[in-house]
Amino acid sequence: MAKLPGPLEIYPLLPGTNCKVCGEANCMAFATKMAEHTVKLKACTPLYEEQKYAKKLTKLEDLVRPPIREITIGVGDKAVNIGGKLVLYRHDLRYSNPTAFFLDISDNLDSDGLAKRVKEIEDWTYIYIGQNLRLDGIALRGVSKDPKTFANAAKKLIELTEWPIMLCSLDPSMLAAAAMAIAHKRPLLYAATMDTWSEVGEIAVKHGLPLVAHTSGNLNDLATLVTTLRALGVNEIVLDPGTASKAGLGTTVDNFTQLRRSATVADNELFGFPLLSTPISVWADYQDGEAPELTKWDEVLTAASSIVRYSDIVVLHSLDMWTNLPLTFLRSNIYTDPVKPVAVEAGLVEFGEVGPDVPVMYTTNFALTYFTVESDIKQAGVNAYLVVVDTEGMSVQSAVAGRKLTADKVAESLQEYGVADKVNHRILISPGMAARISGETEEATGWTVKVGPQDSSGIPKYLQEGKWKEE
């Protein structure tokens, strides 16, 4: 595996003044965090501001550059960073910069059509573990095959949205026209090919824009194309070895894996760029009038494979909840830092106005379980106590099976948080998934245990019915 620099390599290149501007106690502490990739070099502002550090800065930037370069698409708050990856497997450290989802828009839509599609893309969202899942960018496709139409659509687009844009056409004259119109918004250009590398490469150099290198499945071609583009002076490259779905999916997954492995494990700097896949390609087989669900199904499978196998950016067409929910969830899962336990603090949580009559429930401290239960109780609008038992960050079902959630643990928690002094009853509502230990829990706690719903979405109804109070 490519060797990542350690603190002793980083430290001599820092100012060494221990000025604490970065927020760390001294330069060594900062170097240690740099090596752990938990701080960014930019936090050391003197390096950037003082001329005497210019040489050190250049050397440091080279030293800490990740095996996969980071490329920025767009400008301002909505700009998206792709790549910047350090490792092949997430368990080697962690993945940074979650796969960016770019949704397509055809350039031949009228103004209303463009505005409608932009809004739909921007508005797609779902709340998951206390955060809004969202899409990331817009891929403008040159369906019109007319440079003027394409450039006009690009201009309209930047009036409609601040989101990052990818300009997509295999015709260099199309890209030239649109790049001229919106270069200041730093769009990603798609794409230079074995046929168009010279013209498209020049457009990218002229405007200083990132550029996708696309070939049709052949990695020798891609090596040739990237070598040539770099010789032309294109420094920000995104690699697209081609996305074939269905029977071609094995080849696609294998190509992406070989590229990422070359850059991160075999230390081949030529391929140290972000990877792009195009699950939208499945729509080439779609015939007007057919039910679109099967094409969407294939798009999801192709995209899911791409998220797992190293794509830093994907181009999608489908905007449905049922297609993009599993994909955004998968992205969240794969990009979760494997070192940080996904746990919340154990303890006693109060909902609404608590008094001696309110129900007492318990759950685990797995973040996802906790946030789900929390949102369901809030939705019910009831007053309640929730005992959060320390299960080392495991869900109810896993914790029961793995003996991390036991009757004794529940009893200890009731004791520790003094719940008996807060209510005038001795009824504890257990998660449905912990039904197995309810008998033991009654023995260990001396409380009556009522088994609640299997899924916490049933909590509002369960509490409203008031059955928990019945003997």
Binding site: G250, W283, S398
Partner: protein, 397 residues
């Protein structure tokens, strides 16, 4: 696309069931400073590049891609489930999993020795299921033998897992010998290898699986599961009757190694399959994903305690509320559910899982398709990479 056998469902629309909006006939799912540390090849290319900047390349600069081969010193054990007449059993075929010499689907290194298989879940009593699953099983819920026939004949399952959940003291407390009768019925009903699942009741699992090992003598069944709490009676019975054991732990690689270490006191490596627990997509899937990746890599790099094929209770995908909640704003649950199970399975497929225990017929078919698509590099042509930038996609789809 591989044509499906005629007696099996061949299009997804049937598999989605009564989802009336879907009419899916005839569809097949079918340069400033050169760093001295740069490696010679890169150095050479960089020099070529530096020269070229001055002159500008007039033609493509030819370069070769070198496959980044890894070094793996060991392989994963091969485990065979089921036994034909020749082996002393009554099954029409056997299935073998594992045997890998490379990380999952690294085709440039080596294709999978044995492709992953799907086991469909069958329960010995009616259970509560998500509506999108239940609609496919409501006719057979009272009859495990009919249930087993349905998943094999109609849904194309490679093997069947019979879960003896009614043996749980809270769910009917069926005795081991009564449970054995159900096993015999299922063995009569289908000819594929069968797997036996216990209820997860610490008091009953040992005797139930020991009895199952006895009645399945000669059939080489997979006993699911041995755990850190209950393993000895299962291992003893598996040794006596030559069965295979699923070594199941709860998302803890050290515990998995420890349990495997204990099991080999009784069992040969060819009698062990491992399961690190599957959490649903969105609900901790990354733990299972990373455990599986680490187990496969650990095994290939010489850790003898991890050189076993891997199994997943993929049906757990349905624990995600987004899979089954009746919320129309999230899209039709007839699609949402099976895609959830499919994506959960796909992530684990890419992580290195070998045996999928699944339920929704569309998800089962999808995993069979994916295994078929992923198992080898096909020669692709330009037609496989259409110009997606200019295709016309009708508005609103």
């Amino acid at each position: 696309m591989t044509p499906l056998k005629e007696d099996k469902t061949s299009s997804l629309d049937e598999l989605f069931g009564e989802f009336s909006e879907l009419t899916l006939e005839n569809v097949t799912i079918e340069v400033d400073e050169l760093k001295i540390s740069l490696r010679p090849m890169v150095q050479q290319m960089a020099r070529a590049a530096a020269r070229a900047v001055l002159t500008g390349p007039k033609s493509l600069i030819s370069a070769k891609f070198v496959p980044p081969l890894g070094e793996y010193t060991s392989s994963i054990h091969e485990v065979t489930i089921g036994s034909t007449k020749a082996g002393g059993g009554t099954r029409s075929k056997t299935v073998t999993i594992g045997g890998h010499t490379a990380p999952a689907w690294d085709l440039f290194q080596a294709p999978p020795k044995h492709p992953p298989i799907v086991a469909a879940d069958v329960f010995d009593m009616p259970i509560s299921l998500a509506k999108a699953v239940k609609m496919h099983y409501k006719e057979v819920m009272e009859d495990p033998a009919e249930w087993a026939k349905l998943v094999v004949d109609k849904f194309g399952a490679d093997v069947v897992t019979l879960h003896l959940i009614s043996t749980d003291r809270r769910l009917g407390d069926t005795s081991p010998s009564d449970a054995a009768k159900t096993i015999e019925e299922v063995l009569q009903a289908v000819k594929v290898p069968i797997l036996i699942g216990s209820a997860g009741d610490p008091e009953k699992d040992g005797p139930v699986l020991a009895k199952a090992a006895e009645v399945c003598e000669g059939e080489r069944t997979l006993l699911c599961s041995a755990t850190v709490d209950v393993y000895e009676p299962i291992a003893v019975a598996a040794k006596k009757y030559d069965q295979v054991v699923l070594s199941w732990t709860s998302l803890d690689i050290n515990q998995q190694k420890e349990l495997n270490r204990r099991l080999v006191d009784w069992l040969r490596p060819e009698q062990i399959v491992i399961d690190p627990t599957t959490a649903a997509l969105g609900y901790g899937l990354e733990y299972a994903f990373t455990m599986m990746q680490r187990m496969r890599l650990g095994g290939l790099l010489g850790d003898s305690e991890l050189q076993y094929p891997i199994s997943s209770g993929t049906t757990n995908a349905w624990a995600a509320r987004e899979a089954w909640l009746n919320l129309p704003e999230l899209g039709p649950r007839e699609l949402r559910g099976p895609i959830w199970e499919s994506v959960t399975a796909l992530a684990l497929l890419l992580a290195g899982n070998d045996l999928f225990m699944m339920m929704h017929p569309a998800a089962i078919k999808t995993i069979h398709d994916l295994v078929d698509w992923l198992r080898e590099r096909r020669t692709t042509t330009a037609d496989d990479y259409p110009d997606w930038t200019s295709i016309s996609i009708p508005e609103g789809v």
